[in-house]
Each structure stands twice: as C-alpha cells, then as structure tokens.
C-alpha cells in the first residue's frame, strides 16, 4: 500500500536521524491492533551494531521522534518500536513471511 510505504519511509528517516549510535540498516512497518483492538503499527528496526554500544537515552527518546513524525503526516497509530539485532531481525522477518 502506497501510504503505508510512505509512512515507513518517514519512520525510517526519523529513526536514522536520531539513533546516531548504531547503523540502522532496515525497517519494517507491520500494521496490527493492540490488546484493546486499537490500530497500531509495529516498527521493527534492524540495528547493525553492538547492542551494548547503543545510546540508551537515544533509544528512549526515539519513540517520541517517531510518534511526532507519524502525527505530522496524519498517522495517529501508536508506534510499537522493536529494536532488533541483525540476526534476530532476519529470523523474525523469515517467520513473518
């Protein structure tokens, strides 16, 4: 879906801009609903770096930047960020395929 793709790109830009301690290789946006049935989007971020070296405060603030970027384009779904290592990302994507 074109709109979904566009929003995933916006999210990717927001993540790449603000997560400076690790290289963000890929991102996947998967629409889903939360436990209350509200629409949300699961955002899988593949970080190609040593997890111990990621800046904890950058990770903590990331959700705000992603949320703001999505709201700016009219997407009010909750962004469910999943920060994954390359190995775990590949496994998860294979399982979802």
């Amino acid at each position: 879906m074109a709109l979904e793709y566009e929003h995933a790109n916006i999210v990717l830009k927001a993540v790449q801009t603000h997560l400076t301690s690790g290289t963000v290789a890929k991102i996947a946006a998967v629409p889903r609903v939360d436990a209350d049935g509200e629409p949300m989007v699961e955002i899988r971020v593949n970080v190609e770096s040593d997890f111990a070296k990621l800046d904890a405060k950058e990770l903590f603030m990331l959700a705000v930047y992603v949320r703001d970027a999505m709201i700016e384009v009219g997407d009010y779904r909750f962004p469910m960020l999943r920060i994954l290592s390359k190995k775990d990302w590949v496994e998860l994507q294979n399982e979802s395929a």
Binding site: D34, A56, R67, Y76, F78, I83, L84, S85, D88
Partner: protein
C-alpha cells in the same frame, strides 16, 4: 521495592543462560520491565500527592494513592498526544515507554504463541531504565500535574 529493582530481575532473567535465554525467561523479563515502569509511575503519583520520604510515604493515604493507579486509565492518558504535547519530552518518552511495555506484557503473558528475541528485550531494558531515571528527575510540579492527569477523571 524500588522500580529499578524489577529491572534488575529482568537482567538476571536475561543472563540466566550462557546460551539463549528461554522464552519463559524473556517473557518474565518483559513482564518485570512493564511493572517497573508501572510502579515508578504509581510511586511518583503517591509521592507528589501525599509526600515522599519522611513526609507521607507508608501512610494509608500514600498507599491508597499508590494503589489507585489503574493500568487501562494510565495507558489511555499516556497515549493522548494532544494533552501530552504540553509536557516535557522526558514525560512524553516515559508515556510511550509505558504504553509500549504494557502492550508487550499483554503479548508476553497472554499470547502463548508470542515469541521474543534477546536483543529486543535488551533494548527494552535499556530504555526502561532510562525512562525511570529521567522521569524521576522531572520537576515535582510536572510529575504532580501528570499524576493528576493519569489518576483523576476529567468531567466534561
């Protein structure tokens, strides 16, 4: 028990095996991380309304305020981007961490088919620890305002 003690429990669970932690360990770690954020907020509400150390903590009024924090109400409050726009970025990031970890706890505790990866739970652990520390460093006035918003119903 302090909120960060529950983060320590998550750390122990993540380090429980020299190989991959089991799904049971990952799920219990996620649950502990959510409760660490929840108890941090509950304590903040009680401290800012009734008083912290040497003031009101441990009194029935403090306990009642602590216990009055409701999971669903706090989630709704933490998702309202229009209201939260007037708060600091630390409070907003704390709120998003709260919502995210509550959702992940639901998956971990109630969806038998859910699976988690160690790397993502490690990232959660890092974020939750910062969320609690940053939240506790916000001004009393802001934490009190947020406590009123998260605990009390608005009448139209």
């Amino acid at each position: 028990m302090r909120a960060l003690d529950l983060c320590q429990v998550a750390t122990v669970l993540l380090d429980s095996s020299s190989r991959r932690p089991t799904q049971a360990c990952l799920k219990r770690a996620i649950s502990s991380l959510y409760y660490s954020v929840f108890h941090s907020l509950a304590r903040s509400c009680a401290n800012s309304f009734i008083g912290g150390m040497n003031a009101g903590s441990g009194t029935p009024a403090w306990q009642r305020t602590y216990r009055s924090l409701d999971h669903a109400t706090a989630k709704r409050a933490s998702q309202n981007s229009a209201v939260l726009a007037s708060y600091s970025i630390e409070i907003r990031a704390f709120c998003l961490t709260f919502v995210r970890m509550q959702e992940r706890r639901h998956e971990a505790d109630y969806d038998p088919n859910s699976r988690f990866r160690k790397s993502e739970v490690l990232a959660d652990l890092q974020q939750v620890k910062v969320a609690i520390v940053e939240f506790e460093q916000c001004t009393l006035a802001e934490r009190r305002a947020f406590a009123a918003y998260a605990l009390l119903k608005a009448r139209s």
